[in-house]
Symmetry: C2
Subunit: 322 residues, 2 copies
């Protein structure tokens, strides 16, 4: 936790979380390859426990705690996949988990956090409301806060995605495309990938409507987007300080994609790979289909981050429904 993240941390995470996570498959589709102009290997974290890569970071953070700290429980604020992942990790370790969720959060996701045994605390749907409610829980219980991305143990856990992907391929891909929200996944993945395959290009992909990391990458400091607006709800967070530092060290470029391209890519993954992914998972393929990243017959690894789509409101049907 001393401000660096190295391959050894990710290797340690891989050993620590192995009993609690799934080794997810790589899939490909020759018709998608034809459209993308090269072979595309999709790393299917939509098949991960709780339906998202978040399980890796949460498990690493929870199982790295010493027994005395763990005994006081863990806490976070999240209305999405990190909350469910932390709840499951805590249950696996047999400790209490508190999740602060903003009012108006998706009831299906909140219910799934509750089903995983977490104590739910409702708060105002503002960042200040979340932080206040979390501070109160911590003051009351002494729980350890596990931040969704600005946490080195979480980043190390997420980095196992790239390590596993490289281990599953005989030839490493030339490019690794990673969705970018708060930057936990890409910080871990870029650290692992550059250490294992120095020649690989690591590219972050952001929605156009939440392109704070692209701006921050260029400016060299956090440039928040006031009101992020994108269908990719998992990528609305502002990039974290420690995440940005690692991204600037290891990531080659950040590209952005419009929501229409995200929706088209999501639909193509349903149609051709026959898998369910959430909008945030589709940004990597969107970048390929939009020509933001070109393969020229080469190969790419693309991380599909999660599969917790709202099946009653799939985005390509929205114009019909509304």
């Amino acid at each position: 936790m001393n401000g660096t993240l190295q391959l050894a941390d990710i290797e340690e995470a891989a050993r620590r979380i192995a009993p609690y996570i799934a080794r997810t498959p790589l899939l490909h589709s020759s018709s998608i390859d034809a459209q993308a102009g090269g072979r595309v290997h999709f790393k299917c974290e939509n098949f991960q426990h709780v339906g998202a890569f978040k399980m890796r970071g949460a498990a690493n953070a929870v199982f790295a705690l010493d027994d005395a700290t763990a005994a006081r429980g863990v806490a976070t604020h999240s209305s999405g996949n990190h909350g469910a992942a932390l709840a499951r990790a805590a249950r696996l370790r047999g400790i209490t988990c508190h999740v602060v969720v903003p009012e108006g959060a998706n009831p299906v996701k909140v219910e799934s956090i509750r089903r995983l045994g977490a104590n739910i605390i409702e708060c105002e749907a503002t960042m200040r409301g979340r932080e206040q409610a979390l501070a109160e829980v911590v003051a009351r219980t002494g729980a350890a806060v596990v931040h969704p991305y600005a946490d080195y143990k979480v980043m190390a856990g997420q980095g196992t995605v790239a390590m596993e992907l490289l281990d599953q391929l005989e030839q490493p891909p030339q490019v690794l495309l990673v969705p970018l929200g708060g930057g936990g996944l890409i910080a871990g993945c870029a650290t692992a990938a550059k250490a294992l395959q120095p020649g690989i290009r690591v590219i972050g992909v952001e929605p156009e409507g939440a392109a704070d990391a692209a701006a921050s990458f260029q400016a060299g400091k956090i440039v928040p987007v006031e009101r992020p607006k994108t269908i990719a709800d998992g990528l609305r967070a502002t990039v974290g300080e420690p995440n940005l530092a690692i991204i600037r060290r290891h990531v080659d470029a950040i590209v952005t994609v419009p929501d229409a391209a995200i929706i088209a890519a999501m639909r193509l993954l349903f149609e051709r790979l026959k898998i369910v992914v959430e909008p945030s998972a589709a940004v990597g393929l969107a970048a390929l289909l939009e020509g933001k990243v070109t393969l020229d017959g080469g190969t790419a690894g693309v991380v599909l981050t999660g599969g917790n789509a709202d099946l009653d409101r799939l985005p390509w049907m929205m114009e019909n429904v509304q």
Copy 2:
């Protein structure tokens, strides 16, 4: 082709088609297991080439032809997965394929058959119209007809699904649940499963609105359903004569499920397994969730037949859209 189907035919099919088909994975979900009352292994033929198990039977039929016969091409009538499978198998062998499709067929499916290189012949949307158009093509070209299910080579190819499933499990399941339309899949699967694991129970599952096989099984002769009505469009066909004979020899029971249960099971497969399946694929899980088949802590193999769902009209959203 002498009126019998044996394990050796299926083993021969497995060797013949190996280069042309995918060995599809088995998936499971602990939350589905809890609802079904036992461990359920799903055989994911939605990931098969052309998105359905039909590729197996079509490949076996096409590659079993002698060169002189093959040179005159193959033909069938189909508006669905068999047409696409036959088109792909013919293209792989480098021969012509004619597919008779009824007017008004789903344009997406017809387009995918065309993309696979088949010659499309439109006909009236009646069984007589289909048969007449097919007879004309055969008279004109000398093409070999590959029936979607009443064909021993097709049945042998489909039987490789069960052979593969049993090979992928260390312990064979107590029950094998197989969707039942024309009866090609279950004839092959029951023959393979009973030869390899005589103690296994093989159960066919039909939609209530197209329960001709259940009636025929009991009556000992074909009892067609005049106007089949079910969301499971792949299971509307009337069971074939040779299929029924094999089903009566090897299948333990046929159960039926209502469309509401099929839709609920389909949604659960999207939600928990994060995979795309078509309605016909969901009948096996529907039978478990409806209590038509009980596991009592045992294990089941369930064949998920295909993934070519209409993504613009997912059935659980229809009440919103219409």
